[in-house]
Symmetry: C2
Subunit: 510 residues, 2 copies
C-alpha cells in the first residue's frame, strides 16, 4: 500500500498531487529502483479518480526519468535521474567500541587552529602587548549603566522582544547621522547592524563567495578575516602591505589584472597588524582599480576613528564614486566590545542580501545592546568618550615610540602609526618572534608573533605590539625587557651565523 | 626587477624563502605564464647567495610544475599547475551606464524568499495568530532590570569587555545545573552559549555539512531550519510529521536505510508548526535508528519547557545512550527573545568544533545579555516566570480548543497540543489558506499559511495558529471570524466543485 494522501477537492490538480508524492517517496527511498507501481487503471480505481489523472502523473514522472513502463510487465521505479542519489553508508561513524567517531562526520577534516589559544590569557601580572582592544578602565561605566536603565525603563518590552533583522531602528538612524559627518553614507546606501566586524565579514562571505572564488587580502592581515573565509574553499591571495604605507597598489593592480577577483578586503586606516595607513593618493589608485575591474571593495574601518595625530584621510567609502565600496565598522575598538555590535554601510542591493544572510545566521543582534548604544550615541557620549580615548592612546603610542627608540638595538625596525592600537616590529633577520615570546613570557612580557597574521610568506622575525591596554609606565618597562631579550637573542643568532658559511646582509631587493 | 625580499640571516632557509616568494608572484599574477626568470647564476649573484640556493628553489618549483627550463632559452613560468587559475573577467559587473550589476556578483542567483515579509506586521488592531513568541506583557521587566543593573554594577568592566567564545562562564555553569535536572547534560557533554537556536542550526550546518550532503528534516518544519541550510547545496529530505504524533519513525527508517544521511533534525516537543509531540516509545525507535545508522540527531528543544498538561516525555538527549544527540535550546520562547541567547548541549568534540565555528561567525554572544540572564537564573526567576507563563498558555490553548470546537465547520481538523504555542489546522480540501488569509486580513485577523512550513508537498489547505500572544477574548473573537470565513469559502468551493465533473471524497489512503 502506497502512503498517498490525495485530496480530490484541492486547488492543486490531483495528477500534480500524485506526481509530487510519488517523487517524494522515491527521493526518500520508500520506493526503490526496481519497485513496481500499480497500473494506472488499478491505482485510479483505488483512489477514486479518473484513469487519465493517474496516466498524466505517470507521464510526467516518466518524462523526468523517474519511472519506466515495460510492455507486458508493468511500470517500475528507475531511481533519481539527477545523479544525486548515493549509496547508503554502512555505519560510517562506528567503531568497535560503539563510540561515535565524530572526526569522520565533520565537514572539514581538520579544525582550524584556535587562534585565541596561542596567546597568553590576559593577567594583571603580565605586561601584555598581545591584544588590540579598548581597556576596561577607560569604559564610561556609569554613563553606560544609565543608558541601559533608561532604555529598559522606556522601551523594555520592545527591546526584549524580537526585533528587525537589519537593526534597531533608532540605532540605524543615529549611526547614519553620525556617519554622514564623514560622508560615509550615500543616498543609495543602507546601514545594517551586525554582531561586529567579524560577523560582517562572515555575512559578506556568504553573500558573495562561492567555492573556488578568488579574494584579495592584505598580507599580513587580521586573522579573523582569514577565519571568516576558512572552510569555504576560497582562493585567498595575499597582497603585500608596505611597512608604514599600507597595501601596495601596484601589486593590487597586478593581482586584479591577472585574476578573476570576486572581492578585495582592505583596512586602509591603522591597519591591523602593521598600523600603516594608506595615503589619499593611494586610496584613489585603489578605487580606480576597483572601478576598472568592477570589483567590490570591503573597507574595514574599525580603527579609523582612533587617529591621534596627523591629517585625517577620507575613507574609501567617502571617496568612492562607482558605488563599489562596502564599509564595515564596529563599536568594538571604541568601547564595550563585549556587547558585540557593529554595522555595514552597503549599497541597497547588497544590504538586502546581507539582511537575508543575517536572518539565516541569527535573526538579529541583541536589541538590549543596540538600544543601550543608541542611547549612548543620542546623548553625545560616544564623541566625548572618543575624545578621552584618543588622548590616552596618543600618550601610549608616543610612550611606545620613545621606549622603542631607547631600548631597541639599531637593527630593529618598527612602524610609527598615527593612530589605532598596533605597532609592527621587524627584528633582525634570523631572530624568531615565537622564540622571543617564550623568553619574554618568563619575564612576564607578552606580544603577538607576526606569523599569526600572515596568509603566506610569513616573516618569523616580525611581531605586533598592542599598546592600548597598557599605561606609559608598563609600556616602558615591557619594552625595556624586550630590548634586552632581543639584544641577547641577536648576539646568539650572530654567533650561530658566524659559524655558518653564508654571508649576511640586510633585506635585499633584486 | 623581481620584488624579492630575501633575508639571508633568517631561520627560514634562503632557498625556501625564494621558492615561496616566487610561487606567490605567480599566484598573484605578477609573473605570468611565458615570463622568463633570471638564470640561477645571475639571480644568485644579484641576491648575494650561493648558486645552489637558487638552483634548489628552481628545482622545487619545477617539480611543482610551476616553471620549466628550456635548453638554450632559459627558464619560464608555466602557470599554476592545479587548474585553479581562471581567465580574468573583463568587467563582469559593468553596465553601459556604469552602475554596478550586483546581481551578477552574488554567490546565489536568487535571494531566498524573505519569510518575515509574508506575514502582516504585528499591530494592536490586528488579532494575529501569525507569530509564535512569548508576549511582551508577560515579561518580568522589573526583575530583568534589577538583574541587569546588578551585573553591570558588580562586573561592568568584565561583561563589556571581549569574552570567551563558548559563553560567559557563570551562565554556562548555571545552565548546566538547570539542565541536569532533566538529565540533559551528560559527563561527556559541554554547554556552549550561542545567539539562539537559529545560530545553533547555522553553526551545526557549518560544522557538519558539505555540498551534496543529505539531511533529514520534518515536513512541515520551522522555516528557519530551511534557511540555515539554504545556499549550502544540501539535499534536504522531508520526513512526514503525523498530525498529533510527531515525525513518522517508519518513514525515518526508510530514509535512513536508503540514503547516506549526514544529520537528522527533529523537534520532538510541541513541534513547530504542528504542535505534535513524539511519544517516549517513538523517541526510543528514533534513537535506535540513529544508533543503527550512526547518524547524529539534532534535537530542537525550544518549546519543551512549555508543557501545560499531560505527562512530560524525556528528551531525546536524556534517552540517548549512544552519544549521538546534540540538543539546541534557547531562552527565546520562554522570555526576552530580543536578547538572542541560546545554547547547545553537545558531546565534547562537537562542542569544540562549534566553538571554532562561532569564533569565525561572531567571536561570541553579547556578554551583557548573557550576564543578565545568568543573574535571572541564579535568582530563581526563570523557574518562577516559567510557572506563570505555563498558567497563561494553559488558558490560551484551552480557549483556542474551545473556540475551534464552537466555530469551525465539521470538515476542519486541528491538532490538540499539550503545550507550546502552535495549533495546526487542516481546512477542507479545496480551500487555500493564503486566500483565507487575504479575506481574514480585511477583517483584521491573521495567521501563518501552512505552505510557509513545507519542504515539499505543501498542503495549501493548512495553517498555523500561534496563540501565545492573544488573551482568551481575542482568541475567541479571532476564531469566530475565521470560522465564518471558512464556512463561506467552503460553500464557494463546493459550488465550484459541483460545477466540475470529478467526485469529491476526503483524504484517501491507498
Amino acid at each position: 500500500m502506497l502512503p498517498l494522501q490525495i485530496q480530490p477537492g484541492s486547488r492543486i490538480p490531483v495528477y500534480v498531487q500524485l506526481r509530487d508524492q510519488l517523487r517524494s517517496l522515491v527521493r526518500i527511498g520508500q520506493l526503490l529502483p526496481g519497485d513496481r507501481i500499480p497500473p494506472s487503471r488499478e491505482l485510479a480505481a483505488r483512489l477514486g479518480v479518473h484513469r487519465t489523472t493517474v496516466a498524466n502523473a505517470y507521464a510526467d514522472l516518466e518524462a523526468e526519468g523517474l519511472i519506466r513502463g515495460h510492455v507486458g510487465r508493468g511500470t517500475f521505479i528507475c531511481g533519481e535521474p539527477d545523479g544525486q542519489r548515493v549509496a547508503p553508508a554502512a555505519t560510517p561513524a562506528a567503531t568497535k567500541a560503539g563510540a561515535v567517531r565524530w572526526d569522520s562526520l565533520f565537514a572539514e577534516e581538520r579544525a582550524e587552529e584556535a587562534l585565541d589559544r596561542l596567546l597568553p590569557p590576559p593577567s594583571g601580572k603580565m605586561i601584555s602587548f598581545a591584544v588590540a582592544r579598548p581597556p576596561e578602565d577607560l569604559f564610561p561605566l556609569d554613563d553606560f549603566r544609565r543608558c541601559c536603565s533608561a532604555v529598559l525603563r522606556r522601551h523594555g518590552g520592545e527591546i526584549l522582544q524580537l526585533g528587525p533583522t537589519d537593526g534597531y531602528r533608532p540605532l540605524r538612524e543615529l549611526l547614519a547621522e553620525w556617519l554622514r559627518r564623514d560622508a560615509i553614507v550615500g543616498p543609495h546606501d543602507r546601514v545594517l547592524v551586525t554582531g561586529g566586524c567579524q560577523q560582517s565579514l562572515d555575512l559578506l562571505a556568504r553573500v558573495f563567495l562561492r567555492s573556488g572564488d578568488t579574494v584579495l587580502i592584505e598580507n599580513p592581515t587580521y586573522p579573523g578575516a582569514l577565519a571568516a573565509l576558512a572552510g569555504r574553499h576560497i582562493r585567498a591571495l595575499g597582497v603585500p602591505v608596505r611597512p608604514g604605507a599600507g597595501v601596495d597598489p601596484e601589486a593590487l593592480g597586478f593581482a586584479l589584472e591577472r585574476n578573476r577577483v570576486k572581492l578585495v578586503l582592505l583596512m586602509p586606516d591603522f591597519q591591523n597588524p602593521t598600523g600603516s595607513t594608506l595615503s589619499a593618493a593611494d586610496r584613489r589608485r585603489v578605487l580606480a582599480l576597483a572601478e576598472r575591474y568592477r570589483v567590490p571593495v570591503i573597507e574595514d574601518h574599525i580603527y579609523a576613528q582612533l587617529r591621534v595625530r596627523g591629517q585625517p584621510v577620507p575613507s574609501l567609502k567617502a571617496l568612492d564614486r562607482a558605488g563599489l565600496v562596502i564599509q564595515i565598522d564596529s563599536f568594538s575598538k571604541l568601547a564595550f566590545p563585549g556587547l558585540r555590535v557593529g554595522w555595514c554601510v552597503a549599497p541597497e542591493p547588497v544590504a538586502e542580501r546581507l539582511r537575508l544572510a543575517k536572518q539565516a545566521a541569527d535573526l538579529h543582534t541583541s536589541q538590549l545592546a543596540q538600544a543601550a548604544l543608541a542611547e549612548f550615541l543620542r546623548r553625545g557620549l560616544l564623541d566625548r568618550h572618543l575624545e578621552e580615548t584618543r588622548k590616552v592612546y596618543r600618550r601610549r603610542l608616543a610612550a611606545a615610540q620613545e621606549a622603542l627608540e631607547r631600548y631597541m638595538p639599531e637593527e630593529v625596525l618598527w612602524s610609527e602609526p598615527e593612530g589605532g592600537m598596533c605597532i609592527w616590529v621587524t627584528l633582525p633577520p634570523g631572530l624568531d618572534a615565537v622564540e622571543l615570546l617564550v623568553a619574554a613570557r618568563e619575564r612576564r612580557v607578552a606580544f603577538a608573533p607576526g606569523r599569526l597574521f600572515y596568509l603566506d610568506n610569513a616573516q618569523p622575525n616580525t611581531l605586533r605590539l598592542g599598546v592600548s591596554e597598557l599605561d606609559e609606565g608598563r609600556i616602558g618597562r615591557g619594552l625595556r625587557v624586550l630590548g634586552e631579550l632581543i639584544r641577547s637573542e641577536w648576539r646568539r643568532a650572530r654567533a650561530r651565523r658566524a659559524a655558518r658559511a653564508e654571508g649576511a646582509s640586510a633585506v635585499t631587493l633584486v
